[in-house]
Amino acid sequence: MRLDGNAAAGALQEVFPLDATLAFATCAACGARDQLGGAQAYMDAPGVVLRCAHCESVLLRLARNENRIWLELSGCASLEVRTP
């Protein structure tokens, strides 16, 4: 059940104060640079997985329980966010 990166916007907003869907992520596997809103989003997997739209490698993973959020970003070589 693949959705678009913007479906993960709410989940990511709990971690990042800025709109993560606008952040440019550079894929650690293939080097493609795209906004997270355009990534492939797999929700309820049981957590959230965002995959590179070009090579389908995992960009980031997010999981949470009542009082913790885990975020794994090793699939992003870098994240670039424009400041307001």
Partner: protein, 227 residues
């Protein structure tokens, strides 16, 4: 809280949300319902109307096997409460200074964020050329019809049944239909596609096939559960 019926099984909720910071057309909110025993369900809905002080509009389509939409469409009434997280999803937002013309393609209730974008474009007095292609099963299932006819001259396609005398399209969106309704890739339109997953995937693939750059096609898949 107020509401209005847009079509059979489709309802727009006007929610009073004190402290709502405003939003951009195209964004969505995550809505959370909690039952008395603590059970929770979360769904995403596009923000339908323009930002007004502390009021948020969401258009919900009842899905027959849905868990949340039947409650919101049939049960939810003034005085009831729910939780919203948002606005989120700045990726699916149109930038009025975009040099290319604006192309909006919606399937079913996927037209909701696209209508919001058109309303905002009108409110800004933008002269950016805009077109809408709206696919629905039948005329009864079209929402915001009058408003859309005023904002832009939509191309409609009714895929399951058409009224007598119908002059619009009457089939599922295909390559030819897109070639006739969408600006050619050479004009560099920014395209927003929203609706059920299968619809979005078909349209997006055809657009790439027609030469549109992937970065110029923004998609918002609803997913099979309407999320």
């Amino acid at each position: 809280m107020d509401s209005r019926d847009e079509a059979e099984g489709v309802r727009t909720l006007e929610l009073s949300v004190p402290g709502w910071p405003g939003h951009c057309a195209g964004q969505h909110a995550d809505l959370r319902l909690t039952a008395e025993d603590g059970y929770q369900a979360v769904r995403s809905y596009s923000l339908a109307g323009p930002p007004r002080n502390g009021t948020v509009e969401l258009t919900v389509e009842r899905l027959d096997d849905g868990e949340v939409s039947p409650y919101l469409v049939d049960e939810f009434r003034p005085g009831d409460q729910l939780e919203l997280r948002g606005p989120v999803g700045g990726y699916f937002v149109w930038d009025p200074s975009d040099p290319g013309p604006l192309m909006l393609i919606g399937g079913g209730s996927g037209v909701a964020p696209l209508a919001a974008i058109l309303r905002e474009r009108a409110a800004l007095g933008s002269s950016a050329p805009a077109r809408l292609l709206y696919s629905a099963g039948s005329e009864e299932r079209l929402i915001y019809r009058e408003e859309l006819d005023e904002l832009v001259q939509p191309s409609y396609t009714l895929t399951r049944e058409q009224p007598p005398g119908w002059t619009g399209y009457s089939r599922r969106v295909d390559r030819e239909l897109l070639a006739e309704t969408v600006w050619p890739a050479s004009e560099n339109p920014i395209v927003f596609v929203c609706g059920p997953t299968a619809f979005v995937e078909t349209v997006a693939e055809l657009l790439i096939d027609l030469g549109h750059a992937a970065q110029r096609v923004r998609t918002e898949r609803f997913g099979p559960t309407g999320k």
